[in-house]
Each structure stands twice: as structure tokens, then as C-alpha cells.
């Protein structure tokens, strides 16, 4: 502690500032060291996190490229409900386009947006869909997320598997209650209705885009 009370105000200020500055330098340096040391591991776990989600919608045995590195940046697309740019991943098999994985948002969930991850093969069939983020009522509308679905064997979301835009007529892209094709659980129709609508719009959009989504570079329209 400072016992030298005889310091002038200026001398005090300079001395205090210097000490504080030295501390700042030392601890900033140790922070940089920790950052550089943990950086590879953090990047690896972020990639792993993404792959885990991707694995849920598209089986790894179906494609053979490094899908996280083969991306396309989608601009904000109204057909997908996206109000900010999003990344689309492209799976290929033996260099040939095989499937795309992209995000879509259902804006009209029971309480806010429902975010979806959709994997769509080149033949138009859906490889898998997962709800990645939602605020639907626990115990009611949250069955759109397979983890919360009481039917563990064939969760609600799995009925979309292998369907394609062409296989269902436009007016059939609705829940059964509204005269459409899709199942829903009694008591909560708003959430599935929103999800079906968003998927319908998304597959129609992908159908219109066609091969442009596999183009080597450049953004889709």
C-alpha cells in the first residue's frame, strides 16, 4: 500500500496509472494466450455441434463431401420466412449434387417463430426435417420437436420424410383438420399448421430454384 503520502497529485496520478497499465498488459497477454490455446478446440466443437444437427436430417452414409465447407449464402428470402441471410449446405455424392440442407422459419407458431432445418434431395424428396428452435406450449404444441413428442417411434415430424413437393397437391399441404394430408394431435393444431405451411413454401421454393442451388459460387435469387 502507498505509504509515501508526500507524492504530489501529479506524481500520484502517473504512478497509479502506470501500475494499472502494467496490470492491464499482463492480464491482456494471458487472455490472448488462453484464446490462442483454446481456439482449435472451440472451432472443432462448433463444427461438431453443427454436424450433430445435420446428422439428424441427413444420414452421413448418403453423401461423401465435407458438407460444412460446401455452402451457399442465401439472402433474406421471404419464401423461407428468413429475414436475414442464412447458410445453405450442399451434400454431394461422388461429386454429384445430392441434397441441400437449409433453414426455414414458420412465422406463425402459437407463440412466435418456429425455426426448421430441412434436408431436401435432388429428386425433390425430403430426407429429414427438424425443429431447431421454438417457443410452443410445453406439453401441447411442442410435439413438433421429436424430443418432446410422446410418440417416440414415429414422431410427428417424421411423416414428412420422403415426401416431395410434387407428391402432394398444393391444396393438400394442410393438416387433416383443414382438409389436408397431414396428421396432427388433437388439442394443438396451430403449431403443426404453421410448420406444414412453412415446409410447403420451402419445398416449393427449392423446386423453383432447382439446380441454381448447387452452382459452384454466387447467391441464389
Amino acid at each position: 500500500m502507498s505509504e509515501e503520502k508526500s507524492f504530489s497529485a501529479q506524481g500520484m496520478a502517473v504512478r497509479t496509472a502506470t501500475i494499472l497499465f502494467i496490470f492491464v498488459i499482463i492480464f491482456t497477454a494471458s487472455l490472448s494466450a488462453a484464446y490462442l490455446w483454446t481456439k482449435p478446440a472451440i472451432e472443432a466443437s462448433a463444427a461438431q455441434e453443427k454436424m450433430k444437427l445435420v446428422d439428424e436430417v441427413l444420414s452421413r452414409s448418403e453423401y461423401d463431401n465435407a458438407l460444412l465447407d460446401d455452402t451457399l449464402t442465401l439472402p433474406a428470402t421471404t419464401a423461407l420466412g428468413l429475414d436475414e441471410p442464412s447458410t445453405l449446405y450442399r451434400a454431394r455424392r461422388a461429386g454429384q449434387p445430392f441434397a441441400i440442407i437449409f433453414e426455414a422459419v414458420a412465422p406463425d407458431g402459437y407463440s412466435g417463430k418456429v425455426r426448421l432445418l430441412i434436408a431436401l434431395r435432388t429428386d425433390g424428396s425430403i430426407a429429414g426435417i427438424r425443429v431447431t428452435q421454438h417457443k410452443e406450449t410445453p406439453g401441447l404444441g411442442d410435439y413438433i420437436e421429436p424430443k418432446k413428442d410422446k410418440n417416440k417411434k414415429t414422431p410427428w415430424i417424421s411423416q414428412f420424410q420422403n415426401l416431395s413437393y410434387a407428391s402432394i397437391a398444393d391444396k393438400e399441404w394442410k393438416v387433416k383438420k383443414d382438409g389436408g394430408h397431414f396428421e396432427y394431435y388433437a388439442g394443438a393444431t396451430v403449431s403443426p399448421r404453421a410448420v406444414v405451411k412453412a415446409i410447403h413454401k420451402a419445398v416449393r421454393w427449392a423446386n423453383e430454384q432447382g439446380d441454381a442451388l448447387y452452382a459452384p459460387t454466387g447467391a441464389a435469387k
Binding site: M1, R15, F23, V24, A34, I42
Partner: protein
């Protein structure tokens, strides 16, 4: 070095007498938000223990170099740097848990427990004692948060140690209640944490009162039996 007596006092203070959560009632924000299960509570406490031990050690070692006038900025700087290191380590090695604990790891910086111990203990005591003080304050927080998290989890979900697979991938939650247990949402929401914390504080006060009463009643006895040993 540290004497046995000192060690006992520090440990007793941290674990029971000045327990951060049920005696000092500090750091309620992470306590309420994180203890929805025992694993989250334990892991946040472990992070806090690491930060408190390191910051107490660092500050006690540097205490003679830190001018009194600027001690608070320096303390915060040191604590913030250590928290950032712990944050990076969690992100790198326990990524899933890192996502669950989220903002509460960075918020250790502003957890009043850390600054309180640094200011009240580490700034006045040698490094070894200070390090133990940090560790035992953290241990006190650990058992309280683990107990609170465990109770909330058991009442809310009927499980114990849910989410353990985020730390040890091979382990799974223990289902103590039958699968058909409907769950009790209140226990998992912040009000449930307040209610249970209140019960724990009452329990601690009751224990303390009982011990004090015994201590008051006892004195004649040891005198009488002293010769028997």
C-alpha cells in the same frame, strides 16, 4: 504456511457459517437460473470455485503491489481475465454444458461472492489462506446448489443428475420416480427455487439455533465428565 486451526476456521466459514447461498445470500441470479438440475448447479459451482481460488491466490500474491486507491479496478480486471479463461476452457472442452450455462459463466465476474471474498479476505491475507478461502466458499456454494438443483429436479421431473451425459457421455440420468410421474413445473421455475431456497435457509437457521441451544446447555456436562476420559 497455514495452521490447522486457520484451515478449520476457513473451511467451516465457507461450508457452513458464512455459506454464500444460505447465510450470506449472495449470487442469487445464477442460483435461481441455473439450478434446474443438480449437474448444472455443480458445474457452475466448479467454475466458480476455479475462478475464486485463482483470483484469491492472484490477488493475495499481488496485494502489496496494488495501490489501495485503484484496488477495485485491478480486482475486477484480474477476476474478469480469469473468468474469460474459464469461459474459453468450458467452450473448448464441455461445449454442450457451455451452451446450457450460457451467460452465467461470464456473469461470474459480477457475482458478488467473488468480489466480496477478494475484498474481504484475499486483500488482507497471505496467498495460501486466501486460496483455501476461495475454494471453501466455492465448496459451500457447490453443496447448496447441488442440493437445491437436485431437489428441484426430483420434484420437477422425477430424475436426478439429468444432463450428466453432457459431462460424461456414458452416464445417464437416474429416474427415481416412475415414468408416469406427471412433473411439477413450479419446482423448475424461478419461484420454485425461491421457495426451496427459503426452506434451506430456514433449515440452516434451525440447525444453528439447535446447536447454539446445545452449546448453552452443555457447559456443566463436560466439567463433570472430564475426568472419565
Amino acid at each position: 504456511m497455514i495452521t490447522r486451526e486457520e484451515f478449520k476456521t476457513i473451511a467451516g466459514n465457507g461450508i457452513w457459517k458464512q455459506n454464500t447461498s444460505i447465510a450470506q445470500i449472495l449470487g442469487l441470479c445464477p442460483l435461481l437460473a441455473v439450478t434446474t438440475n443438480a449437474v448444472n448447479g455443480i458445474m457452475l459451482s466448479l467454475a466458480t470455485i476455479i475462478v475464486m481460488a485463482m483470483s484469491n491466490f492472484a490477488i493475495a500474491s499481488l496485494r502489496n503491489l496494488i495501490p489501495h486507491e485503484i484496488r477495485i479496478p485491478v480486482f475486477i480486471l484480474i477476476v474478469a481475465a480469469l473468468v474469460t479463461v474459464v469461459d474459453l476452457l468450458f467452450n473448448a472442452n464441455l461445449h454442450e454444458l457451455y451452451l446450457v450455462l450460457g451467460i452465467f459463466i461470464p456473469l461470474i465476474v459480477t457475482n458478488c461472492i467473488v468480489l466480496a471474498r477478494v475484498e474481504a479476505f484475499a486483500a488482507k491475507n497471505p496467498p495460501i489462506q486466501s486460496t483455501f478461502d476461495g475454494i471453501f466458499m466455492g465448496v459451500g456454494m457447490l453443496w447448496t446448489l447441488a442440493l437445491l438443483g437436485g431437489m428441484r429436479e426430483l420434484l420437477g421431473n422425477g430424475t436426478l443428475f439429468g444432463g450428466i451425459d453432457m459431462v460424461f457421455p456414458d452416464l445417464h440420468a437416474i429416474h427415481l420416480l416412475p415414468e408416469s410421474y406427471p412433473g411439477f413445473l413450479l419446482a423448475l421455475l424461478p419461484p420454485g427455487a425461491f421457495i426451496l431456497l427459503g426452506c434451506m435457509i430456514a433449515w440452516k437457521n434451525w440447525m444453528d439455533a439447535r446447536m447454539a441451544q446445545r452449546a448453552r446447555q452443555k457447559p456443566p456436562e463436560p466439567l463433570a465428565t472430564a475426568g472419565c476420559h
